[in-house]
Amino acid sequence: MKKYIFKRVLISIVTLLVILLVLFLMLELMPGSPFNDEKLTESQRALLNAKYGLDQPIVIRFFKYIGAMLTGDFGVSYTISKNTAITALLQTRLPVSLRIGGQAILIGTVLGLILGIIAAIKHNTIYDTITTVISVLGVSLPSYVFAMILIYYMGFDLKWFPLLYKPEQPFYSSVLPTVSLCMFTIATVARFTRTEMLEVLGSDYMLLAESKGINSFQLIFKHALRNALIPVITVLAPLVVGLMTGSLVIEKLFSIPGIGSLLVTAIQSNDYNVVVALTFIYSVMYIGIMLVVDILYGVIDPRIRLAKGDGHE
């Protein structure tokens, strides 16, 4: 087990280093220098380079760069809000994104599980069909289509919810964004839970448990669901990725002051430092989640860790 976790952590660290290297090289290979004032003489330029540490060898600068990124020193924004430290921008924006993303994944997983379980228990009934339709629609329509439908009917026509996010009503105004974000999660989780539950429900040990007279509540939650959940955990990592990309669009649509809309604005206005900082944050979150899911999966299902960890495949 220790060996397996160690290996996973090592791969995650290498991945992060590769991303940092790419970001750093892009900065290096971009044409131009920060000091392209033609009035500067060679010696002045050398002085400036020395002041900002640009005269040092590339390897040392790379390590300095890693140090700065890991301690959260991302530099300043160029165009979005001039000379503001990016850390300051993130301080207000990151919590908003995390909260809405968290709401979406939580609600999406719970609703998806419930739908999947109902569909599996009531196999081949109207409930099953409804779940299948929801899950097919959920994976087939981009989240912004749901967002538009919700905005049009719930926000614009019926005026139940505000059209835009309001910081003074953080929960009430985040209902529509959360719902449109979590449709994909609901659909995927429901689909997987249904398939897995059906397989477990049809297995011999379920028949044995049933014949022993265990009541149906215990049968489903203690015996079936626990085994069905294992593969469902694996889809959580791709789902989080889906949420990240989805949040870019959703935050733009509802003008939520989060990091997704910040990234879109930064790309559109060529604010390089902000893009790099957000890219790095997204990568760290993604790699972190992948690591947790991998380890969790290894803990739950020993076959995985044995197969992956020791190379006997």
């Binding site: 629609l137 981009p142 897995e196 990725v241 390089y272």
Partner: protein, 351 residues
């Protein structure tokens, strides 16, 4: 001696007709693998419907842009914001060119083609825009099908990347095993650890937004799922006797990989590449929506939806058709992929 008289009549020498031959048992008749797959596929209603709609969308993407006489970038300023109007259907009260306008004063129904005052002509009485026009006076019908071409191109890219790169990568990694496998798998894991979002963002910083950037992004990240499936399938097969037999006969490694193993796992690989299509189309639609897709005046479904969203509350019809076409494409590919999966391997449920 018992002499039995045998009497032969001419009828005894007539050939027995084909109808009198007893029927072969169809249930146990031998069926080739591909025929079996085909029959299972055609029995799946969803899959056939999906295939039908995919063919329909492909046909419309080919002929659609030439049907109205407009091009995707031709503007007629006088024809701005016209609601859908179709000959014949207009008499039924739908697609008659009228739209409900929501303004701050309330909603009004108006028809820009025919003026209410019969003495004034709008000059548009004989104009028909099937899907309406956008804020710049461009035909949405033409633009929608031009945009569909881009989605289909993305689908093609996804399959090519899967088949050319992902498949070969997985086959080699699985077949050779050992150090090669170790190295290739670690590399794939590192690439897999980089979110697609990040890859796309970085590519856009270097290149300008456009089809090349999207294609590159798909090429960098799209092959990993495929390589995993290919590798897993090879691992299942490579210890079997027929591979050993082939090796004993002196077959080379690449002969075994492509002639012995590949035909046996090709079905699963097709299924996998089918599943990657919706994902790729999704990525493009998403990029286009945040303004990183194809540059104007080119249209993709995502950018059409994004443009129409700006005037969404006043002219909702502009957004409806691109969304419907996108939904049909995504649904059809998903249903067809599901059907193919069940056809190729009924046991391969979750993937």
């Amino acid at each position: 001696m018992n002499n039995t008289e045998m009497n032969f009549s001419p009828e005894d020498f007539v050939l027995v007709g084909a109808d009198k031959i007893s029927h072969l048992d169809e249930n146990y008749a031998s069926k080739s693998y591909w025929r079996d797959v085909l029959s299972r596929f055609t029995k799946n209603k969803g899959a056939v419907v999906g295939l039908f709609f995919i063919l329909l969308v492909i046909a419309m993407a080919i002929i659609g842009p030439h049907m109205t006489g407009h091009t995707y970038d031709s503007q007629i300023i006088a024809h701005q914001n016209l609601a859908p109007r179709v000959k014949g259907l207009e008499n039924l009260g739908v697609f008659d060119g009228s739209e409900k306008m929501h303004t701050s004063q309330g909603s009004v129904k108006q028809n820009k083609y025919i003026s209410e005052d019969s003495t004034v002509t709008t000059g548009l009485e004989n104009t028909y825009y099937w899907f309406g026009t956008d804020v710049l006076g461009r035909d949405i019908f033409t633009r929608t099908w031009t945009g569909t071409r881009i989605s289909l191109y993305i689908a093609l890219v996804a399959v090519v990347v899967d088949m050319c790169f992902g498949m070969v990568y997985g086959l080699i990694s699985g077949y050779f095993g050992g150090k090669v496998d170790m190295f290739l798998q670690r590399f794939a894991e590192i690439i897999n650890g980089i979110p697609t979002l990040v890859v796309v963002t970085l590519l856009i910083l270097v290149f300008r937004p456009g089809l090349v950037t999207i294609t590159l992004a798909l090429a960098i990240t799209g092959w990993i799922g495929m390589s995993r499936v290919a590798r897993a399938q090879v691992l299942k097969l490579k210890e079997q006797e027929f591979i050993l037999a082939s090796k004993t006969l002196g077959a080379r490694d690449f002969f075994i990989i492509f002639k012995e193993i590949l035909p046996n796992i090709f079905g699963q690989l097709i299924v996998m590449s089918m599943f990657s299509i919706p994902n790729a189309i999704f990525t493009e639609a998403f990029l286009a929506f945040i303004g990183l897709g194809v540059p104007a005046p080119l249209a993709s479904l995502g950018s059409l939806i994004s443009d129409a969203f700006k005037s969404f509350t006043t002219h909702p019809y502009m957004i409806v058709f691109p969304v419907i076409v996108l939904a049909i494409i995504m649904l059809s590919f998903n249903m067809m992929a599901d059907g193919l999966r069940d056809a190729f391997d009924p046991k391969m449920k979750e993937m």
